[in-house]
Amino acid sequence: MKRNFFLLLFSTALLLLVLPAEAAEAIANTDATAWWVWPVALFFTCFLMGIVAVPSGVGGGVLFVPIVGGFFPFHLDFVRGAGLLVALASALSAGPLLLRGGLANLRLALPLALLASASSIAGAMMGLAIPANIVQIALGLTILGIVILMATAKKSEFPDVQKPDSLSAALAMSGVYHDAASGRDVNWQVHRTKTGLLLFTGIGFLAGMFGMGAGWANVPVLNLLMGAPIKVSAGTSSFILTLVDSSAAWVYLNQGAVLAMIALPSVIGMMLGAMIGARLLHVLKASAVRRLVIGLLLFAGLRALLKGLGIWV
């Protein structure tokens, strides 16, 4: 079992890196039907990303932009447009279930999403206005920051919030959810709301600028800063993305930065992969998959940085 598991991890990592190279070789021997090679390679790459995204606890969007931007021939403008749609489609698919189960909370999400979605418009406009190499450098640095965050950040399953701050109390940003693992109802409340609102404004900007989902930043802010339980943080983060990515997606759509031939294979591949990933949740060792994803992100982040600097084009 363990051997099969590591074989799966190894083959996934290998395929993620080899598929684009295989496609490149096919393009080199170009023929009249070569146009479909990259979309097919993109579909399978996204399928594999979807498989590892679920057990590792990161959104597919954060993997998509650096890997596809670094190793596929598409311009970063189109990659970011597709990345936003990948993150949006995933968040929209999960949203209804999370809301019904109380793991996404509207009272917690809406004030944060309002600021984040407004700033994501500014981020998207900025991202499409500045030169691609500057965006690549900023993307590389951001991805390397995410790697450090993923490798070092702790989680608090049930943070102890003694007293809500005045703003969260006024907005009644609190709730209760049924924790299936422990079989009990968990009451929660949050604090440090003003700082949380400020950070979500910045997170929305980055999400719009780089076309990534922002679960990597949302969850630590909700959980470690504001004190929401980890499951509520993850669920609410996913729900917030439905609003943040919708705003930014419109900017990319109106600017012509969404190509169906790039966006749709990505969305379909990622969602099919995520379904497999969800089924493998109980089989795969989440910590090992997470290490694999951190390794992939480290490689993709360095690639983006070096590409932006003109060192590895």
Binding site: G102, G175, V267
Partner: protein
């Protein structure tokens, strides 16, 4: 805030989000398959895409004479733009969800959250309108 009231708006939101997202994805996939298999004509021939998708968006638009803003809707008879209808629908379905829960907040006299929903709708409409990007 009672838990019953809390779940009421969440349930309404989730129901609309469920149907909105599923229908958007279905439209996108059907239109995309029609595009790929040639059932709908392509505005930009698919054989030319490998020579174009490495260009920055502005250069791509100039090379293909593709319009920006909502003008793409006029090309919805082409497969590459028909696929965008589903994507536009996916990006819009949160609007309907927000609209649907405002009456619940109003009935509860929760003016703050009703206002947050209205402002969020305004933000989404502003992004969708293309006003910010049309002259960009």
């Amino acid at each position: 805030m009672s838990e019953h009231n809390s779940s009421q708006e969440q349930l309404r939101y989730s129901t609309i989000l469920y149907w909105g997202s599923r229908s958007g994805l279905t439209i996108s996939v059907i239109a995309f398959l029609a595009y790929v298999f040639g059932l709908l004509p392509a505005y930009v021939p698919v054989e030319q895409l490998p020579n174009l998708w490495h260009l920055p968006v502005k250069a791509y638009l100039a090379a293909t004479h593709t319009p920006i803003g909502w003008n793409w809707l006029g090309l919805a008879g082409h497969g590459d733009f028909a696929s965008l209808i589903g994507i536009a629908w996916l990006s819009s379905c949160s609007l309907l969800c927000l609209l649907a829960i405002i009456p619940i907040y109003n009935a509860r006299r929760d003016r703050v959250f009703a206002t947050i929903c209205i402002v969020e709708i305004a933000v989404l409409l502003l992004a969708a309108s293309g006003i910010l990007t049309a002259h960009h």
